[in-house]
Amino acid sequence: MTTPSLPELDLTLRRTRLKIIQMSHLAKSAHLASALSCVDLVTLAYTNLLRFDPAHPADPGRDRFILSKGHAVSTLYAALAFRGVFPLGDLDHYNEDGGHLPEQPSPGCAPGVEWATGSLGHGLPVGIGMALAAKIRKQDYRVAVVMSDGECQEGSVWEAALFAPKHGLSHLLAMVDFNKWQATGRSTEIMAMDPLRAKWESFGWACHEIDGHNLSEILGAFSKFPDPHGRPTVIVAHTVKGKGVSFMEDDNNWHYRSPSAEEVEKARVELNLVGDALV
């Protein structure tokens, strides 16, 4: 895999943000802010972490990626398209009636979509099963799972958190997109989420707490995976819901609403993509 330079990454990330804003506008779909908060984590996973061939996304030896917060799937579709797994033009048909890119991913809906999610708390147990399969078969593929912070209120997440360290699943990487919001309020106020890092650490995970929008910190955390001590790894990534567009940032209304054409153009200006050839 050729590693893109930081300026190249920055451009891809801005384009990805604008693309998913356009998708939300066209499809009138919700959860835009949740998608924007994990753009950096998901995109960088596809550019700098996962070992796979975009031309053969079902290769048995590929690294697996599960977007457990399925409501942010526009980010996953965009990451796959920008990585060349399927044509960018497909994204214009996001959430169309009868189309193959639904608002929450269905099984095998598009090349590279590893698992159907949408109900929270499913991705980590499934990811553990995949990592366990690799361990039993002595294959070396890795499994990455991205969860939301609200999702960490599901009991199944902590059932999974208890299992993975016990079985030394060092090839498993969980990422928590800690954007501090859930559907109806602040995640840290609705439940006792803090201290999230200490919770994972006390369960026996190698834990890296980072700024989830700082590329160097994300890449730094990726470089420490797999854990040399044989533990599963979790990245607790502090993020901002709606990241990248000033009038969406940290405003939970964008959990629900979709942008107007005018707002898409305002976002284009903010993302410095006026006249961009690709998006």
């Binding site: 269905s106 109900s119 147990p125 553990i128 099963g129 995949m130 366990l132 399969a133 059932e159 299992f163």
Partner: protein, 306 residues
């Protein structure tokens, strides 16, 4: 049935490298032989059923065909959404085995009863529902399930139940197994009620009523060929199950019948009623309570017949 289950999966694992055994901290010493022979294919997943089912689906996506095992209410109701989304929606070859089904663990109370599991499992798209009648059917259905495509739910009883078969029968998933022939009443039994069904047929014979008994080990897919023939041939078709009369074998047959337009025998559903059992008691007591003893079953059949 439990011991037959443990013995059969141990035998199957020897030739089937895709067989992974997962338990949620149940079966004390039951799987010792499996563990000795295949230590890397047995996982005690702890008291954490939702995670177990999700992991099984993940293992299945990696080419395995896992079997998940624990007490029936905990492997069905407790983790239902994982079964629905991760196993059924993804059509993964995971076999979910509930032990102590129906009223097998009656004395442990309603938390351990499962008289709704067939209903909630069979409504899932793509799910196959198997209810072996005795230890021999457990073995036969386990063998068949290894070659079956897609998710399977199997409800088994406890240990030491009476057997009806003398050896492991030849059977096919989705095809009812005739046990005793008769001409007036067809008694369709699913799961561990089969010995009682046989006793019932004996009691009916004493009253001059000829009763056919079949083991309806598969509730889904339903053996429609058998039903078509039974409803045209007999005066009465009775369904019998240690499960609610709502949504189980009786419910399945009634739904099938309602959609059909062929000749119709009368029908009676025998199973547990639409209420929980609040008193203490062993399985036989619970069956008595729900009218599931041979004496009460034959009485109900006779009264429906006349």
């Amino acid at each position: 049935m439990r011991n037959a289950f443990a013995s059969e999966i141990t035998a199957l694992a020897a030739t089937d490298p895709t067989l992974i055994m997962m338990t949620a901290d149940i079966g004390n010493r039951l799987f010792d032989r499996f563990k000795d022979q295949f230590p890397d294919r047995l996982f005690n997943c702890g008291v954490a059923e939702a995670n177990m089912i999700g992991m099984a689906a993940g293992l299945a996506s990696g080419g395995f065909r896992p079997i998940c095992y624990t007490i029936t209410p905990f492997i069905t109701y407790r983790c239902y959404e994982q079964i629905r989304v991760d196993v059924c929606y993804h059509q993964k070859p995971v076999t979910i085995v509930g032990t102590g089904s129906g009223l097998s663990y009656a004395s442990l109370g309603v938390t351990h009863h499962s008289c709704e599991d067939i209903a909630v499992m069979r409504v899932l798209p793509g799910m196959t529902v198997l209810c072996p009648a005795d230890a021999f059917e457990v073995r036969a259905l386990l063998r068949a399930s290894r070659l079956w495509n897609g998710p399977v739910y199997m409800r088994i009883g406890k240990k030491g139940e009476p057997t009806v078969h003398a050896s492991t029968p030849e059977l096919t998933i989705g095809k009812a197994l005739p046990i005793r022939s008769g001409s007036e009443v067809a008694l369709l039994s699913t799961g561990n009620m089969l010995p009682s069904a046989m006793e019932t047929a004996g009691l009916l014979a004493q009253k001059g009523v000829s009763c056919e008994v079949v083991s309806f080990h598969t509730v889904k897919p339903l053996d429609e060929d058998y039903l078509r023939s039974a409803f045209s041939k007999f005066k009465l078709v009775a369904t019998l199950e240690e499960h609610s009369i709502l949504g189980g074998l009786g419910g399945s047959v009634a739904e099938w019948l309602a959609d059909g337009d062929g000749p119709r025998a009368r029908m009676i559903r025998l199973g547990t009623g639409d209420h929980f059992l609040h008193t203490a008691g062993e399985q036989e007591f619970a069956r008595e309570h729900y009218g599931l003893t041979p004496a009460k079953i034959s009485e109900a059949i006779l009264s429906r017949l006349n």
